[in-house]
């Protein structure tokens, strides 16, 4: 579950008034950073550097690593499994970022404009809660629920299709290599949709209702107001949600582990699961480290874009 958009993070901050006494008092605050600094060094920085270092070696997890330079990265470029896993990542971005953002926008606007205004905030809050519920569920549990619903024999979805006379549509949803990826995508949409919805609904409260009223008087229909007023007003939220969900999509692991274990035949393998199996099942630690390093570079690049967007939208707010 990823929550909260802090568009307001004041990374820049205002300059404190310069006084003769100021610098001394300011710097002694650095002591409060000491526990955090030590903890982050031990748990984040050292392991991260180790992982990056190991990616240039051949190592089975025991003995000493053998330096091989860029060999792992060269191998990765020729590894079809690697390319497949990143291709599946793109599918995950569609399922976890693009689709939930689009559906979330429409749902949030409909909940806000129709339900919230005409049926009261309570009704809107209950509906919003229904959409948000999967977000608080552990992904392992969501995986259990869905792999049982999508089971080929006696699974609820196939039973339902049979009951409504669409028996020929029955599938081995997670076991058929041609379908499994789309089934996982469907589950991820279900998991993810609550996050954009909640963020967008919070964002919509900023929109000046007079804009809508004026446009309505001018005869603009709901879709036109949605397109010309709502969307531009909550553009900062859209950017942040898209980037944040894209990062989440690139990191997806638990769902794949529980639903398909990357199968059948690698049809749903993703980079994080690929690195996990390379680390702990094949014990090719150097190779696994190279996979996770590439993943990290991509995610950090996206994070920098996210930071840029946040500071820019913050400046836009001030202007």
């Amino acid at each position: 579950m990823t929550v909260t958009v802090e568009r307001g993070a004041r990374t820049g901050g205002g300059q404190p008034p310069a006084g003769p006494r100021r610098p001394r008092t300011r710097d002694s605050y650095a002591l409060f950073l000491l526990p955090g600094f030590l903890a982050f060094t031990a748990i984040i920085i050292v392991p991260f550097l180790m992982n990056t270092g190991v990616s240039f070696t051949e190592w089975q997890g025991i003995g000493s690593p053998k330096w091989t330079g860029l060999a792992n990265y060269r191998d990765l470029l020729d590894d079809s499994e690697f390319w497949a896993s990143f291709r599946h990542s793109l599918f995950m971005v569609v399922a976890m970022a693009v689709v939930p953002t689009v559906i979330g926008l429409v749902l949030a606007a409909a909940l806000f404009d129709y339900v919230g205004k005409h049926f009261g905030g309570k009704v809107a809050a209950v509906l919003r809660a229904c959409f948000y519920l999967p977000q608080v569920l552990p992904i392992a549990v969501a995986g259990i629920v869905w792999s049982w619903i999508l089971a080929p024999d006696n699974g609820s979805l196939n039973e339902l299709l049979k009951a409504v006379g669409l028996g020929s549509w029955q599938q081995d949803w997670l076991g058929d290599p041609d379908i499994a990826l789309y089934s996982v995508m469907g589950v991820m949409v279900w998991v993810q949709i609550g996050f954009p919805l909640v963020v967008f609904m919070a964002g919509l409260q900023r929109v000046d209702p007079q804009l809508h009223e004026a446009a309505e008087l001018d005869g603009a229909g709901w879709w036109r107001r949605f397109w010309h007023i709502t969307l531009p007003q909550i553009r900062p939220e859209i950017y942040v949600v898209l980037t944040w969900c894209t990062i989440a999509a690139l990191k997806v692991f638990g769902a794949v582990y529980v639903l398909t274990k990357g199968g059948p035949g690698g049809a749903t393998d993703v980079p994080s699961y690929f690195s996990f199996t390379t680390f702990f099942e094949k014990t090719q630690v150097g190779y696994g480290a190279a996979i996770s390093t590439i993943l990290t570079v991509i995610i950090l690049a996206l994070s920098l874009i996210l930071l840029k967007l946040q500071t820019r939208s913050e400046e836009g707010d001030r202007a």
Binding site: T11, G13, I43, F279, L295
Partner: protein
Amino acid sequence: MTTALRRYPVLIALCIAALFMVVPFLIVAINAVKSPTEYSQNGPLSLPKGLYTTGLKDFWERVDYGQKLFNSVLISGSVAVLAAALSVLNAYAIGIGRIKGRTWVLAFFVLANMLPQEALVYPVYYLSKQAGLYDTRLSVIIVFTVIQAAFGTYLLSSVLGQFPREIIEAARIDGANKWQVLWRIVVPVSRPTIGVLLVFFFIWTWNEFLLPLVMLISNDNQTVSVALGVLQGQRLMDATMTNAAALLGVLPALVFFLVFQRTLTRGIAVGAVK
């Protein structure tokens, strides 16, 4: 006018969509209380004829679910408190102390928060083995305290950056030192934000999967998420057991959701409004 006419169809469409979101939970609930014979005769879509709880009890005992719940509460609770404390200390230096280079320090915490756990998992696994902490709940608590504190520092720093400086100046003039200002003024005033962090940290840690999966291999130490995920991965469960597992996994999440719903929405508002 047209809006008024379209109101009800939109409401109905939204209700159907919301129903679609909760249907999986309902299906799990009705099947978890069916006996295996009833299930095999009538399939998953029929309503249960009575309350069959043997499946749930069997599952509870077989996986020692009480122990798993205890582990999850212990780990998530400790992480929530420790990570909030660490976040407060960091944010105090960044947001109120305005230490030199705070932009870079903050950027560092943000990036640490974004780092995929895949890039840490093997070294953490290896180092914890060296330190004799492998397969202990403590190791998971330490790792997640730091990971969650990265986010907490980021959020709290921006909140404390807007803390009314007159209050702090006044306390300093009255002779309070930095610790007293922190504990007597900053922490009490920021209690709502810290509360939001505690709830988020608890639920996030509860839901974590990759690192606990790697770090906790013995049954006695596993969390709910890991135990259920591993069971599912082994493909050894029959339909009744799967449903019992799913229902018992869903229930705690449902409880948190109902208990913390207001905090969760407020937390999102905290971020979005600022």
